[in-house]
Every structure is written in C-alpha cells, then in structure tokens.
C-alpha cells in the first residue's frame, strides 16, 4: 500500500489551483457535499463526445455500437470497483433517485396490487396497514423523505433507530423497532453529518431475520473506503458519482439480481421495455428495466475514469490517509476552547466528515469567516435536519476531506475558527 501524496494528487485537479476572495488560495474542505474532478475524468467525458457520441442500445451504426460498448464497459468497471457483477448495477441520476427507486417499489407494488386485473405483485413489496418501514435518526433527507412518502401513500408506519449522545446508532432497540411487520429497513452506512460508520451488517441481518428488504445508503462510504458490496449484507445499495471524482448527473443502485427482478419498474418509457402495445407493455430485465429513456451516457464514461483513478491510488491507501487526517483534525478541534464536535469524538468507525459548533457563534458566521480566508466548508443542517434536532443545534459547521487534502488544510480551518472567535469577540 503506497501512502497518498496529496501535493501530487492536487496537481491533477485544475480547480484546486484557483484562488478565491481576492487571491486567497482555495482550501477545499467540502468534499462530503461534492468532490472535485481530476483532469482524466474531464478528458474521458470529452473524448466520448468527440469520438463516439450516439444513442446506446438502439442504433446499428458504428457510432452506436461504440457508444453502447463504452456505456456497458463503464458499467463493468464501476461494478468491478465494488466487486459486483455488471448486471447488478443500475444507473440513476444521483443517489436520491436510487433511494426513490427503492421506496417507489413499495408504493407502486402496493397500488398495482390493489387494482383488480393487474399481474400479482411480489408480496415483499406490498405494504398492508400495520406494516412498517425502519430508518434511523441520522439519515440524510434522501433516505428519509422517500420513505415518509411511501408510508403516506400506503398507510404504513415509519419507525427509526435512535442515535446515542456520542453519535452512534443505538442498537438497544434493534429487535423491537424492527419487528415481524417490518417490510424495509434503510440505513446510512456513513453519516454525512456525524461521520459515524454504522454496523450495517448487523442491521441488515436483523432485517432479513424478519423477512424485510435491506437498503443501505452508501453515499459517504463507497467514495472513501474499500467496499465489497456483498459484505454489507444488503439487498439494495445507493450512492452517487459526484462525491467520488465523477461527473454530476450520475448515481447508482446496486441490487441482488433476485431483488431487482422482483421489483416493479420505476421510470418507464423507451429502452426499458420488452413489448409495447397500446393496451399494455412488458418489461426488460434489470438493469435495463430501470433505465428508461436516453441515459447519462457521457457521465458513465467519466465515472469509469473516476473509479480507475481511485483504484490506481488504492482504496486502502485512501481510507488510511483519511483516517490519519481525521485523527489529526479531531485532535486540533479538541484543543480549541468553545468548540464541540457533534458526532463520534474517537477516531474509531468514523469517516472524515466532522461537524462542530462554536460557542456563541452561528455556523453561518463561522463559515463566512473561513470563506473570507479561502477555506470552503459547509454550514447548515447538511440535509439531515432531524439529526441536528437530536443534538439540539439548529445547524453545524462541517469540514470534510478527501484525497487531495493534507494537514495544512486542517490547520487553515483551525486558524479560521480562531479568527472567527476573535472577530465576533467570543474568544
């Protein structure tokens, strides 16, 4: 395992050369929101448009053949990155769509099931009153609101696993929250607000014990650590490309062939069909069944370059680098007066997203002072508003690192926090 060399890596990212706010060098500590893109990703996408752009899976001319080959071999590369088979990976526009796809399987199957004359739906997806769906108190809105909606449309009940004061999933109630009436359990692998890495295998095992479908939101884990997808023990896993060096506009749903086959389609239209008549249609097998219409083809090619870039660095090396940097950041924040980390304070089973509050200062004001010094962090509820409420804060400031960050970036953030305390007179 070769350790990462962030100074060298930075040179592959054109944007990291720019300055902000009157000539300050950019210190980008917002990769949990979206990562920056290396030149090789931009080159790959452009090369696709300049050499073989065409409709995939539809044309018989040479461009169409080449485009189809590029699109499907990108799928194979992305699947390989998580040790999956290509046919288990569905392209979506982002993780949010992937999680909606999972949640809509339930509301759609329930609606179709209720209408006489429809082909019978797989009972695993049909929600009856008294059934429930389980999430946690540390979910991103993308893994909460779609399930609220599925419940609202079917009369099922939404339940959640609580979070402990130190930012861990509280599993004491695992066996009571998830019960015989649970039809789906959807849990975040690594919290984007707290940084916590959850024991999803344990939660998925309990889900399967009661016959519920297991879903994992891996948006913050797959970009940062080696993931062998089957080891999560889930039926479905969602994540996004833009957080792992990939283009905007592409996300993924991995699923076991058996579950993908059993799910009703979500978006319908061209390319996902088998036979179409005016009265009725039949559908292709997964993954095509879930890929209606012209897809984000150029983005799949860019994504392939992204996973190749990550693989060349080595996901083990990336995880080790971030672990070291996270430890350093936690130590430096711990030494600051008036600063409280929201989330695990020990560097165990935790990722590189670190949320904190500063006594007497609103996160927006902390972020603004950091920004004035060129340091880009995220402030707000990070699309995990209920998690903020759980910790009694309206919002937090979050710094999050990636392959191109090093200790000097953390130091810049720490100096910025001190400057904010001084500026607002709270130090």
């Amino acid at each position: 395992m070769t350790p990462l060399d962030p100074a060298r890596i930075k040179r592959d990212f054109p944007i990291l050369e720019r300055t902000v706010r009157d000539g300050k060098p950019l210190v980008y500590l917002d990769s949990a929101a979206t990562s920056q893109k290396p030149r090789s990703v931009l080159d790959a996408e452009r090369a696709y448009y300049e050499t073989c752009n065409a409709a995939v899976h539809r044309g018989a001319h040479q461009l169409a053949e080449e485009a189809t080959e590029a699109y499907e071999s990108a799928r194979a590369a992305i699947a390989g990155f998580i040790s999956a088979a290509p046919s288990e990976v569905v392209y979506t526009k982002n993780a949010t769509e992937a999680l909606n796809l999972a949640a809509y399987a339930f509301s759609n199957a329930t609606a179709l099931h209720g209408i006489v004359g429809n082909p019978r739906q797989d009972p695993r997806f049909v929600l009856n009153s008294g059934d429930n769906i389980v999430v946690s108190e540390m979910e991103h809105h993308a893994n909460l609101v779609p399930w609220q909606e599925a419940c609202a449309k079917t009369g099922a009940q939404l339940r959640w696993l609580p979070v402990s004061d130190d930012g861990r999933l509280d599993l004491a109630s695992l066996d009571t929250v998830i019960d015989e009436r649970t039809k789906a359990v959807s849990i975040v692998h690594q919290s984007n607000l707290l940084g916590t890495i959850n024991p999803v295998e344990t939660v998925m095992a309990r889900a399967h014990q009661v016959g519920a479908l297991g879903v994992v939101d891996a948006c913050q884990s797959i970009p940062h650590m080696p993931v062998r997808i089957r080891e999560l023990g889930a039926d479905l896993v969602a994540w996004s490309g833009h957080k792992m060096l990939g283009p905007t506009g592409i996300g993924f749903l991995w699923g076991t062939p058996e579950v993908l086959d059993a799910m009703p389609p979500f978006l319908t239209g061209g390319s996902m069909i088998e036979i179409v008549e005016m009265e009725r249609s039949t559908y292709a097998k997964a993954p095509q069944k879930f890929e209606a219409g012209t897809q984000m083809v150029a983005q799949t090619i860019g994504m392939r370059a992204a996973v190749e870039y990550l693989s060349a660095l080595g996901m083990d090396a990336i995880a080790a680098h971030e672990h070291e940097l996270t430890g350093y950041a936690l130590d430096r924040l711990d030494a600051l007066d008036g600063v409280t980390v929201i989330g695990p304070q020990d560097n165990v089973n935790r990722g590189s997203a670190i949320s904190f509050t500063v006594d007497g200062l609103h996160p927006h004001d902390v972020g603004q002072v950091l920004d004035s010094r060129g340091v880009a962090v995220r402030v707000g509820h990070h699309c995990a508003w209920p998690t903020c409420r759980r910790f009694g804060v309206p919002a937090t400031t979050r710094l999050s690192t990636y392959i191109y960050n090093d200790r000097s970036d953390i130091d810049a953030a720490v100096s910025g926090i001190l400057a904010a305390q001084e500026f607002f007179g709270v130090s």
Partner: protein, 152 residues
Amino acid sequence: MDLNGLYQDIILDHYKHPRGKAALDAPLASAHHVNPTCGDEVTVDVAADAEGRLILGYQGQGCSISQASASVMSELLEGASVEESVKVREAFVAMMHSQGNVEPDEDVIGDGVAFVGVAKYPARVKCALLPWMALQDAQIKAGLMAPKEETR
C-alpha cells in the same frame, strides 16, 4: 474579501444587542419563516395601535445577519404607519437584490444601509430577508397592508 464590509459595526451591534426581540401578547397575526438550507427561523408578530400604527414583536434563532436584520427592522418599523412600513420594506428588499450596486437611502432604511455589503453575498441575502418576508406575510394575514399592495 473584506469581512468588515459584510459585518459592519451596526450589524454586529444589533446582533449582540437585539432591539425589540420579544413576542407580542396579543398579535393580530404572526408568521413563522424558515431558511430551509440552514434551519434559521423567525416568527414575526404584528398588531396595530388606535391610529393604525404598527406594533411589532419577533423571536427567532439564526446567524448574525438574520438576527441583526430582525432587530433593525423592529427598530425602523415600530410605530410606523402601514404605508411607511411598505415603503421601507420595499427599499430594503430592493437593496438586497442589487448585488451591492446601489447606494441605499439612509433616510428611508436607517440602520438598514449597513446591509448593503451583505447584498454581495447571494447565500446571505436570504438571511437578511428572512424577517422582512415574515413581516410581509404577517401584515397580509393581519390585513395591515397598503391598499396598493392588497390588490396586487
């Protein structure tokens, strides 16, 4: 960037010493607004005295900009006529949407001029406007709008 241009002393002073920050006992109407990106919130209460002059109250939590803005608003509009309140609000809103390119009129918006630097920061414009939008809503609910606005 010039932090002092954004956080002018007037703003910091209103933030640290908010004027008029309290709920009304018997509001004619109230409006609760949130900034969905950061969770900041403000509740504005309105009532009117015998001459139809505004009585204001507010509560809330948020950043220096949104809190100072609420304080400035309360100071400017407490006891103002409905017409005045509309004029002041429109001037403040126009300034916030100017990207910092207009010279604000201190005669109209008083301490509000201190927010001209905020207008250069699109992400903070929403913070400054939060209490003013809640005020507009509360005035509409209470029927305390200038005739021209009611018919728009």
